[in-house]
Symmetry: D2
Subunit: 416 residues, 4 copies
Amino acid sequence: MPDVIFPLDSTKPFTEQEILGHNRWHPDIPAAVSVKPGQSARIECREWFDGAIKNDDSADDIRDAPLNTVHRLSGPVRVEGAKPGDLLVVDILDVGPIPQEEGPLAGQGWGYTGIFARRNGGSFLVDQFPDAYKAIWDFAGGKATSRHVPGVEFTGLIHPGLMGTAPSRELLSTWNTREATLIATDPDRVPPLALPPEPDGAILGSLTGADFERVASEGARTAPPRENGGNQDIKNLSKGTRVFYPVFVDGANFSVGDLHFSQGDGEITFCGGIEMGGYLDLRFDIISGGMDTYGVAENAIFLPGNSDPQYSEWISFSGTSVTLDGEQRYLDSQLAYQRACLHAIDYLTRFGYSPEQAYLLLGAAPVEGRFSGVVDIPNSCATIYVPTAIFDVDVRPSASGPARIDAGVGAPHSAF
Amino acid sequence: MPDVIFPLDSTKPFTEQEILGHNRWHPDIPAAVSVKPGQSARIECREWFDGAIKNDDSADDIRDAPLNTVHRLSGPVRVEGAKPGDLLVVDILDVGPIPQEEGPLAGQGWGYTGIFARRNGGSFLVDQFPDAYKAIWDFAGGKATSRHVPGVEFTGLIHPGLMGTAPSRELLSTWNTREATLIATDPDRVPPLALPPEPDGAILGSLTGADFERVASEGARTAPPRENGGNQDIKNLSKGTRVFYPVFVDGANFSVGDLHFSQGDGEITFCGGIEMGGYLDLRFDIISGGMDTYGVAENAIFLPGNSDPQYSEWISFSGTSVTLDGEQRYLDSQLAYQRACLHAIDYLTRFGYSPEQAYLLLGAAPVEGRFSGVVDIPNSCATIYVPTAIFDVDVRPSASGPARIDAGVGAPHSAF
Amino acid sequence: MPDVIFPLDSTKPFTEQEILGHNRWHPDIPAAVSVKPGQSARIECREWFDGAIKNDDSADDIRDAPLNTVHRLSGPVRVEGAKPGDLLVVDILDVGPIPQEEGPLAGQGWGYTGIFARRNGGSFLVDQFPDAYKAIWDFAGGKATSRHVPGVEFTGLIHPGLMGTAPSRELLSTWNTREATLIATDPDRVPPLALPPEPDGAILGSLTGADFERVASEGARTAPPRENGGNQDIKNLSKGTRVFYPVFVDGANFSVGDLHFSQGDGEITFCGGIEMGGYLDLRFDIISGGMDTYGVAENAIFLPGNSDPQYSEWISFSGTSVTLDGEQRYLDSQLAYQRACLHAIDYLTRFGYSPEQAYLLLGAAPVEGRFSGVVDIPNSCATIYVPTAIFDVDVRPSASGPARIDAGVGAPHSAF
Amino acid sequence: MPDVIFPLDSTKPFTEQEILGHNRWHPDIPAAVSVKPGQSARIECREWFDGAIKNDDSADDIRDAPLNTVHRLSGPVRVEGAKPGDLLVVDILDVGPIPQEEGPLAGQGWGYTGIFARRNGGSFLVDQFPDAYKAIWDFAGGKATSRHVPGVEFTGLIHPGLMGTAPSRELLSTWNTREATLIATDPDRVPPLALPPEPDGAILGSLTGADFERVASEGARTAPPRENGGNQDIKNLSKGTRVFYPVFVDGANFSVGDLHFSQGDGEITFCGGIEMGGYLDLRFDIISGGMDTYGVAENAIFLPGNSDPQYSEWISFSGTSVTLDGEQRYLDSQLAYQRACLHAIDYLTRFGYSPEQAYLLLGAAPVEGRFSGVVDIPNSCATIYVPTAIFDVDVRPSASGPARIDAGVGAPHSAF
């Protein structure tokens, strides 16, 4: 096991740790720790809400989730010698949950998937699911099961939802400008189009005083993926993966958080995947001048690991870019994927699941979401693939009609 | 081998065959042939341009491709007893190229990928690639190679790009109305937003006279995927797949065409995948009342086959929903996938490929395109996965810099 | 499709074809056809008993199978320029069944698995299964089902059981000497230890007269795999595979036959896999001096194809090298695999199969057989892996006990 | 993380731990710990030589390895309520190395593969490799590399080599009798045919006094796999696997040890796989009366996990049952696999490896070994599959000849 360079005391909140992390992107957040090229290191991570979501049967915590406080990031990690224009090489040597002895995440051999309510973030299918829902997942043997979504068990595809390097001053300015422009087109939208800098709830490592105030007012929110990687929510960044990040500041200032035990492509419930705290063992290296050498000006490239869970039988659903109201949109793959997801949900309800159980399942299980056709004007075609072996019953269509699962107590639900 | 119910004489054009197919969707196109539930049958298919694209080193044929004439569909096949509300079960028993002895596709152990020019259809990356390009692929041993994109060889993932059932009168009307509404928002756009009914070039099976005129003026174009399946371009509809289509008219009136030897997710070059003529062996069955039983009101669902080519090592690229000009878009996965594709293209040029060679390769090879994050406001994150084993050289980033392939003669190019 | 260099008329027996093949190994059997390095060619093959086994419900044909007449091999194919010491490179471009219109194999979208009786060849488990049994398998959509082994369906792993190059005079002499020595240790054994040269039933291409007599009396039987490849029965020589054979005579004189639609590791029923006639598309090349360059003095090496059927869930059985009578043998993997197979058979009978149905299934389905431990004195450990997705019912152990399949009419049986 | 029911203090030898394990099989060894059905538990394991093999560059420790002392087993674990005739269900929830802070295995992010010398155990290829050799493997990121076998890196397929239940008195007697009978056929053989009970070095849990003496003189050695599972060395018993063991004594008395970071099929070097200490998280359950219900009288059956490392490109070698001296053996798969392994070794030497480096690699990497043909009299055919992606260079045959790796310092070697 590599040395723990970023430890977290599970009995204390994120803001009371010896080494303070951060929850905004800014070049002036000082590096918390430092590594040499070639070095391996263990980094511990809090789940993104730092324990605000409980292992219970109420969705009130999801409804009221404190979005200003996310994501708790471990870092920045300074990589000695890294310079703007380099590629930072990050090997994911290991990633897993940390069972906690005490504190808010005590005994965390579990995680959660939430559907955000419209008035607090919303989700991919917010028009169909305007309220908050939750599912608790228990981990055992590398597999997840849930009392809130019974009749399924699947192997975890453990990965960090968020990794990235610090932006340069110029890049940060670009972000803030372009996102403000978007917000300005509909500033009162619920859910919002984007999240502007927000001093409330900002955590900025060792910064204090005027520097804290300035950075808190400028720091970019961590919700979106951007040129530095960030919250890409790529489910395939699993153990064994090598990722290459562009470097924008001296030292690269790498940060990581938002661990998932599993996630379906898209993280469609927004508050999921299966969120959990845990650890990563990472090895850092540098390809000097690699951004230019390899034409990587932005966004991570990666070589995925080869130990992801294998499933060979799938049931698949397709969707096109026509709204539920029948409006024809032009090559809108986002919409096509929504329609494919809704088709999968409708289908699964015939086996006894509630729509929200099916939705939570698609957010949590290792489902594949693919761009199948993106040019066949005016309709994009998107497809979603659900492994059939994860279900206790046979979920394939047949002349004899659907088997029925026992949907149990259902998913906790909270409305405003 | 099942009986050939829809034969094509390779020495004659599609319009001079004994059994006439069609290239528009309309409930009044009479069934060309008939099968019983449980029956297997071989259906032959012309490539979508019926031989207009040649195995040569000019892209003029791509530039001037006669879009009004596509897709040559084999069918309609009437399935006895199928009724609206049923699910039509289609097993893809086999699918492959037909080597032709004579005629326009003589010796077709080959196929092609084209990038459409802006003024004739355009493609997924039309702003970056406004002209026409072509690559010819040779098939041997289930693998494809190209003199126009040297240094790669990959196993075919053979599939039909287009399968579907006939629309009902109401459904056709819905299509025409909603697409006309879209077109009306920018009727002179190049490329167009959608393709309205077009009598010119219409082929309508055995229809003649006034019926022909009426149906030609009403029939929906075959470019887009819609509720009936249609041109979904799902690369995973390979041998061994079972597909379930909603039935909208008596007999289902199933049609098929647009065979691909391989395709990357999205069919991003538009005139690709690797287009080819060939055959399908299909088995038909019915789940009576299945649309309601399984909640399948529209769009195909399917159980993919289990013999797709296996690759275990990939290089992957990500993109987000910011335009090349720096404009922030809201959760636009279509854009995010474009950016991921452009990143892959930029990267591959460092190994010696021209941008258009890299683009043609991504359209043709079995690359995966995934919705990674679709909720992280304001940025979608899309990813594209390219199998590394298809390249003659090691295409992974390293401190020693990229190896160079010999890009050869390059891809044929034609501008207007 | 490559040119057919070795055609077979399905209305005529193997011995009445225009181009005669052979069923013995000998350097003096003249090449039947010739190819150039780099050339692709189609070769048609008869099933190994040339139609003696019928698609019916009797096992008399298996009991009385004419073993002297096997294997009908297509070839020899002379590869121009090949010299002793070279490696012959054979790409399996395609392999599949040929549906026959007429003659003894008419309509052959089917194949068979037989268990040889002790008095006519015997099988891997001859002591437990001394009589003859048969199962007919029907092919559709690349999958096999059987009226004699109901409740299973699996994707074919189509491959040639037998490919090889002609032996040199010295090598043939080595074979005959060492096999005669083995036979002499127990010349009356039933089944025999090995098969000596046998003029009766010999087919020797274009040879006639005294040459025929001499070669018939010297030619090695084709049952065993040997230095030249031969009847290796490697189920993984599927489409997309590249095989490297040592060359022992000028022109290599390559031959092929014994096609299987599928086979479990070991071909444990002896008259199985699923035997069928069919075709191969092969591409030939030479690595000059490759035997020395790569240290390949004997036996094929190969790069398997990447489109084999994928199964991700298995049930597995183990066995060790103790006989059923309780005798301890020393590191005998052959015995350990027998015991593992017997355990699998015992297990499957609890689900309703007869022992012979289970045995036929293990011989035919794509089961894996592995050497797990070969050094743990005195016991070898062998394991067999059966894909669970091929069964209609769940065949995993559970507290609720086994589900029952309907075993149907059972497997045809014939005793002497 | 489950409770640790069998902890090991890494600063102390196996014999000085608070809870004592054992290294012989005997029904009278008392259970060390107890679990309830349904319970999960962590069990720590020492590597099989308890630290006698060092992370250094000498093979003296392999040459002199104290075989009387193996295997250090953690257990017996009593499963409450288990009765003879039941099936014990063991889920492998997790398995991995434990990095040790102090003591003989300090810092063990490493393991070793050894080739035993003929005079101390021997190996699968003892005639070709009569001396002792060693390779040290370093673990990082779930992958192994070695200074003694450079140019390769592979993902670990972590598993316990040895798990099993205690034998009944009758079963133990059967073992001792049949193995003594075998030994008696050649009692002075080097290496021996089997290992009789050996009081010297026996560790028997909490037994003392006369009981200790009796059990030490009767207890079966742990080297071989037997009816109770035992040292099966099945590389596929990886995380996510469910194993079913026959129960022969009240409480089942389950034990486990001999963890491997990876292993090629067969564990051909004998002192390999990659040996390491570590932990297992197991969940125990019972199927009452399951031995009869499922026909499992002996030997484990199992459902393998689905997260094993995926490799899609292989180079494969075959062998038949003819000795190197040219003697024809009858259907001897053990010999055929030896010949296949020797072919692989010969081949790899052409790329620069020493024969012993190649041998160590085949014992350690996740290579597959299959029974390809077991009935083709007189020759068995065995095959071995080596993943090509584990090599730094391309190891496929080509006209340009083999690339050369830098074999480095080579593998440590010690002769008697």
